[in-house]
């Protein structure tokens, strides 16, 4: 048992009268990883910012924190920052200096702490970037942050943090802003680096999957306090504190059967309310005087069908076109070609009053809870607005009654009616948005990443709400998410998209149990499991590679071939069309039979 490297005793951080962190104690030994899990507001980031000395001047810190004997809260701590203790942050885009080249930013700690010349430091930086497995290092070194993809930027951040060989690395939500396939690669990278360098790693996250992947020991924080601690296997398998238990229960698993398991509805018989055929949405990027204009194929020939009362999940990573698709379904965005058939009518070309009259039947809820609500309007007005627009015959009294009814059915009491959005939490705002969408009793509800911005426990509550909506109103739901576990829980059928095309489609259970398309397999492989042993094994043998190319420079033929382990020459020549695997399960891959 090695000597503890980091010892924190009774650490507290407060802003005026409000405590952010209360009496937190922890220990970390070299070569070990400590996972700190909690929801937003738990104070986990604040505690570590305090250790790094990065809190604003108004924060008052109390307690003790020592790294290898040196007091982190005292005046000598400055020398340690960046050298013995380093930190990487959540959002690599805004966390990198936009006007400095990557190579220079990675080299900077070496110049600052080791007194190297800039040229020497840059050479060393190139080596570091190599170690974090950045591609094409000589070119990258001279590039700016905005020219790199999310995964590459995070690798650059890691390289920067490791430059002076720190003894302790703090990772604050290192993978939250990344696509799931990139997340898996970064997690694997972190494990490897920690093992190679014998560093201590502290990971702050709200994602249980990340804990399972990286942590040896776990601390659970809630509202500034530690509520439970222990080795990772025990915490995940047999949590003692009820909060920890509630977190685990609320976290949906990708390996547990969900909605589809209860037996799918009989699809063949009734007429499908929504059918989309070969939908294309192309954007013309203007070139200006001296450049040719390019075409961005946001949605490139997508077809789908939706049965009554069914939830269809649409999964895919950034740039796959899922948001563009959903907006087009509701005619909130442009359509370049193809058909959208709603209740038997082609609606892709409808305008004006004809379109407006259909709006009552299809509604949408968005990702950002606060941006979805007009900050100048009261909750009651927000929910009443669709009624005023599309049910003019209703009297004000009837409208009020309907609004109160709706609020109650989404779990908000009548006292919320006069509040404004800035007085509500994220989860409450989403409920209001759902109430607004459902007040017209639509037959189609489109949900665009609606739970992605919410804490896990709130997420679980809203998912239950959606299930109730499906059951009681018979509403069909199109549920867009990058979170495969959530989709598995809620949706009977799933559609997988990549760069504007559907690569696989079918009953959720079947697609998740036996995926046919290499991309679906990669996605499923990327999702962290909640069993630490299986998770470490998975990371060690990870075959996930690369990142989604930009939609403007899409590869010819099959768009996925640049990352596909099974790609061959033919994949570049021909675009794969959907082929039937089994009843209602389709895949678009030239080689699906062989792999």
């Amino acid at each position: 048992m090695s000597e503890a490297l980091l010892v924190v005793d009774d650490l507290s951080v407060a802003y005026g009268a409000t405590p952010a962190v209360e009496a937190v104690s922890l220990e970390l030994a070299p070569g070990r990883c400590l996972g700190i899990i909690g929801e937003s507001g738990a104070g986990k980031t604040q505690a570590f910012l305090a250790m790094m000395g990065l809190l604003p001047a108004q924060a008052r810190v109390a307690g003790r924190a020592r790294l290898a004997g040196v007091d982190l809260l005292g005046p000598d701590a400055m020398a340690l920052r960046g050298q013995r203790i380093a930190m990487i942050f959540q959002d690599p885009m805004t966390s990198l200096t936009p006007h400095m080249r990557i190579g220079d930013q990675v080299a900077e700690p070496l110049v600052t702490h080791r007194g190297m010349s800039w040229n020497d430091a840059r050479a060393h930086a190139a080596v570091l970037l190599d170690q974090v497995r950045m591609n094409d290092v000589p070119r990258r070194v001279r590039q700016y942050p905005h020219e790199l993809s999310g995964g590459m930027r995070q690798r650059a951040m890691i390289a920067m943090a490791l430059a002076c060989d720190p003894k302790l690395l703090i990772a604050d939500e290192p993978t939250t802003a990344l696509d799931v396939s990139v997340q898996a690669q970064i997690l694997a990278l972190l494990r490897q680096l920690v093992a190679e360098r014998g560093m201590a790693l502290a990971v702050v996250t709200h994602d249980m999957g990340v804990i399972a992947a990286l942590a040896d020991d776990v601390i659970v924080m809630r509202q500034g306090r530690v509520v439970e601690r222990g080795p990772v296997e025990r915490i995940l398998a047999a949590p003692e504190h009820e909060y920890t238990r509630s977190l685990l229960v609320a976290t949906p698993r990708v390996d547990t059967p969900g909605a589809g398991f209860a037996g799918g509805a009989d699809h063949g018989v009734t007429v499908k309310p929504l059918a989309v055929r070969d939908l294309r949405i192309f954007h013309r990027l203007r070139g200006g005087w001296l450049r040719r204009s390019r075409e961005l194929r946001a949605v490139d020939g997508v077809s789908l069908e939706l049965a009554a009362g069914e939830a269809l999940g649409i999964v895919g990573e950034s740039g796959c076109g899922k948001s563009t698709l959903t907006r087009a379904l509701l005619r909130l965005g442009p359509v370049t070609g193809g058909e959208i058939v709603w209740l038997g009518r082609a609606i892709q070309d409808l305008e004006g009053e004809a379109l407006r009259s259909l709006r009552a039947g299809m509604q949408i809820v968005f990702q950002d809870p606060f941006a979805s609500l007009d900050p100048t309007m009261s909750v009651a007005d927000i929910v009443a607005e669709p009624l005023r627009a599309l049910r003019p015959a209703m009297s004000p009294a009837q409208r009020s009654a309907a609004v109160i009814d709706m609020l109650e059915s989404v779990g908000l009491g009548a006292e919320f009616a006069q509040r404004r959005s800035r007085e509500l939490s994220g989860g409450q705002c989403q409920r209001v948005a759902i109430a607004r969408a459902m007040v017209l009793e639509p037959r189609l509800l489109v949900c665009d990443e609606v739970v992605s911005a919410l804490d896990v426990s709130i997420q679980a509550q809203l998912l239950a709400l959606f299930e109730a909506i499906k059951r009681t109103h018979g509403t069909s739901i199109v549920f867009v998410s990058h979170n495969l576990a959530v989709v598995r829980r809620l949706c009977e059928r799933v559609l997988v998209m990549y760069l504007g095309r559907v690569v696989e489609e079918g009953p959720t259970e079947e697609v998740f149990r036996a995926p046919r398309h290499p991309y679906t397999r990669m996605l499923l492989e990327s999702v962290p499991l909640l069993d630490p042993r299986r998770e470490r094994a998975r990371l060690a043998t990870l075959t996930v590679q690369g990142e989604t190319p930009s939609a403007v420079d899409r590869p010819s033929g099959c768009a996925f071939r640049t990352r596909c382990p099974a790609a061959q020459a033919t994949c570049a020549a021909m675009r794969p069309e959907p082929e039937i695997v089994a009843d209602s399960h389709q895949v678009a891959c030239l080689r699906w039979r062989q792999i």
Binding site: L54, A79, S95, T97, P98, E108, W289, L290
Partner: protein, 307 residues
């Protein structure tokens, strides 16, 4: 980068064109003509005058020949100062106006930026409050207030500089006018710089730089300064526009023979070619400065270059 520059330059031409055309037609619309100020002329003489200057031709024809002249570089004859062509008139006063304007703008940036940075560096200290207090007043005071006040202070009560007229080569004539002109711009830039820096210092990448252990001074100079300069550079265009209009006032207050007076006088006299010439010259200057500002902007923010 080169392509970016070319694109920007190409964009200027339509604007210039509209500028010239607009002014041409608007000034013609003004009631009264160039010959109405003097005593009423007998019709025959009037007709001769009109013919001599081409005023009897249809408006479009006049427009066309004016444009042709512009392309050749000839701005026409002055109607008021009958022995001079517009080119000559403007050329007589422009160098002085430009000198004053340029000096003022340069002074403003050279002083304003460091002051603003200083205020941000020592945020919320006495220095900060003092500087911002001064700048608040400086922004607000109009040139025609400051000018006479400075003239009073430094010209009369405490004679250090000259306050009226101009002798070529004698800098002391220029000091007060330049300072008067530069003052509001300096003040504004200082505030802009300070606010911008404060905002940049709250950004995530500053936190990263501090987390790397970079010294506070280097964080400020290497990471914060360049992005913070962006709004200041964007202000370059309006700053120049301000300086141009302000030079009118300053020349008037201090009695300097610059080109500003031609504009006002020309409008009152309905001296069409003169006004047009001034509009053109000043328009080009403004647009050029906007262009330079844009180019600087591209250097400061790499993201813009690829746009």
């Amino acid at each position: 980068m080169f392509a970016y520059v070319l694109r920007r330059i190409a964009g200027l031409i339509p604007t210039l064109f509209v500028l010239v055309s607009l002014s041409f037609f608007v000034i013609r619309l003004a009631p009264g003509g160039p010959f109405d100020q003097e005593q009423v002329l007998p019709p025959a003489i009037r007709a001769n005058l009109d013919a001599a200057y081409g005023f009897d031709r249809p408006l479009i024809a006049q427009y066309g020949s004016y444009l042709a002249g512009v392309v050749r570089g000839d701005l026409g004859p002055s109607l008021r100062f009958k022995d001079f062509r517009v080119n000559e008139l403007i050329a007589s006063g422009l160098p002085l106006s430009l000198t004053i304007g340029l000096a003022a703008a340069l002074l403003a940036f050279l002083i304003g930026v460091p002051l603003g940075a200083l205020a941000a560096w020592r945020a919320n200290s006495f220095t900060d409050h003092a500087l911002m207090g001064f700048s608040m007043v400086g922004v607000v005071l109009p040139g025609f207030v400051v000018g006479p006040l400075l003239a009073l202070m430094f010209g009369i009560y405490w004679p250090l500089f000259r306050v009226a007229g101009y002798e070529p080569g004698q800098v002391s004539f220029l000091v007060l006018p330049v300072v008067t002109l530069a003052l509001p711009v300096t003040a504004y830039i200082a505030r802009l710089m300070r606010n911008s820096l404060q905002e940049v210092l709250r950004a995530n990448f500053i936190r990263t730089a501090r987390a790397k252990g970079v010294s506070a001074r280097h964080v400020f100079l290497r990471h914060a300064l360049r992005p913070a300069l962006i709004p200041v550079v964007s202000y370059l265009g309006p700053a120049v526009a301000f300086v141009i209009t302000g030079s009118l006032v300053v020349e008037s207050v201090f009695g300097l023979p610059g080109s500003g007076r031609f504009l006002v006088q020309g409008a009152i006299d309905r001296d069409y070619p003169l006004v047009m010439g001034m509009v053109l010259v000043y328009g080009v200057l403004t647009l050029l400065c906007n262009l330079i500002a844009d180019l600087l902007y591209g250097w400061l923010d790499p993201r813009v270059r690829l746009a």
